[in-house]
Symmetry: C2
Subunit: 231 residues, 2 copies
DNA sequence: AATATAGTGTGTCAAATTTACACCATTAAA
DNA sequence: TTTAATGGTGTAAATTTGACACACTATATT
């Protein structure tokens, strides 16, 4: 949003809450602003929507420019349209969340200068953000918290191959509560969309855990009735 | 949306899916368009957002101008931003749903000429709508279908005093499936937010049913943990 | 080689919730 | 008084959820 405001009436922007999971913590990507207003504050990455791109495309473009990543799970979750949410003029913003595999094979590197100073921040220890971005974050966090149980959100945040303990630790981070190990495993495996691999965790100094993969085809088969209930 | 498009870049509008429940059917309010494009087509009521009003206020204003009603349950549910969704230029629209008591005490009468020809249409028998309004409707319908179970949506659509059979019939209309009478009642009453009145249904030619009221205070007490999970 | 350390992987039982299911009661109209 | 229409009610089986503890395995350390 550090772009100069055009002179015509209202401006339309996208703001992204980019979630990642690392070291047992849920994190979001924040940038440090170089310009007024809110110079030196932390903010959600965001940008203005171009004339000739859909808002979904705009969200993907902005994410790409910031992280070099494409084809991530992105989802619009709310539009913020208070008159004075931006001190320099009327800016209506559509907020998206994106889910990233921080430990995935692809690297996160900004393509533009815009994201020079983008860093991951644990969601449990966020400072007050610029504009109404704290509220946007809260809304987005609540959204994925709720969707965790009926959309395959978790598997977008984990590496392709993961252990059940990692999966549980992600659920605990998002839901912010401890879960029972045996019950969690029983439940997850009962769905039938986790594929057990013939492979084990590597590089740990204790008994290595089995690795699993998310089987998207089975998932959609199982939940095809609910599929169209979301947007 | 029959307003002339301004000449600056993008236009911002609100479209409303206005739900009502009548004669055991879920219905939405549609207008017949007088102007091109989509002259004579049915469309969702919608309007352009003014410079100095928040989108929530715009939604309330538009609803008021169309129905004469205020203080209804309204909720933004999705923003539609395809480049070519409006044939005359770039129009991004925030979609809201509104819930109306068709049989309620207040009357539905349009305040502006805009809604001269607004009629209720059963959701199960809708023609193709103007623009992308069919898609907007579907998305909104799915939204309330999902929310029915964790937000007090049903009671916004029923008269203040209602019978359990009416409540069940509303659930069946929204979820599009039959429910078991005894199990439905047991469950609903077990929540504890329905207040049994000393009053009975009137004007029916069969045994009159007990009337109930929704106790919002008890509801929020019971579900206060979930409350902040939505927006 | 022995031991310490750290996390893996597993089953049962009680409680709570969900589901299936049928008949008598009441009212007004004929 | 009979008919038509809907109101109102309980129980038992099946399923799901929740609580709970210990032996196993791989590596690192001594």
């Amino acid at each position: 949003m550090e772009v100069k405001l055009p002179t015509f009436n209202s401006v339309f922007s996208i703001d992204c809450v980019i979630f990642g999971f690392e070291a047992g913590e849920l994190k979001i990507l924040l940038i440090e602003r170089n310009e007024e207003p809110f110079k030196d504050w932390l903010a959600l990455p965001g940008y203005i929507v171009e004339q000739d791109e859909s808002i979904d495309n705009a969200a993907e473009r902005i994410l790409y420019e910031l992280t070099g990543l494409r084809d991530l799970h992105m989802q619009q979750f709310h539009t913020f349209g208070e008159v004075n949410r931006h001190p320099q003029g009327r800016v209506i913003t559509v907020a998206y969340y994106a889910l990233i595999r921080i430990n995935g094979q692809k690297e996160v590197k900004p393509v533009t200068q815009y994201a020079k100073n983008a860093f991951w921040h644990p969601v449990n220890d966020l400072p007050k953000l610029a504009f109404d971005h704290s509220e946007i974050f809260e809304t987005g966090f609540n959204k994925i918290r709720r969707r965790l149980n009926y959309q395959p959100i978790a598997f977008e945040l984990l590496p392709e191959k993961f252990t059940l303990t990692q999966l549980q630790s992600l659920y605990e981070a998002v839901l912010n509560k401890k879960l029972d190990k045996r019950n969690f495993r029983k439940k997850m495996l009962s769905y039938g969309f986790l594929k057990e691999l013939d492979e084990k965790q590597k590089g740990v100094s204790y008994r290595a855990a089995k690795l699993y993969k998310f089987d998207r085809r089975k998932y959609t088969k199982i939940f095809q009735n609910d599929l169209n209930l979301d947007k």
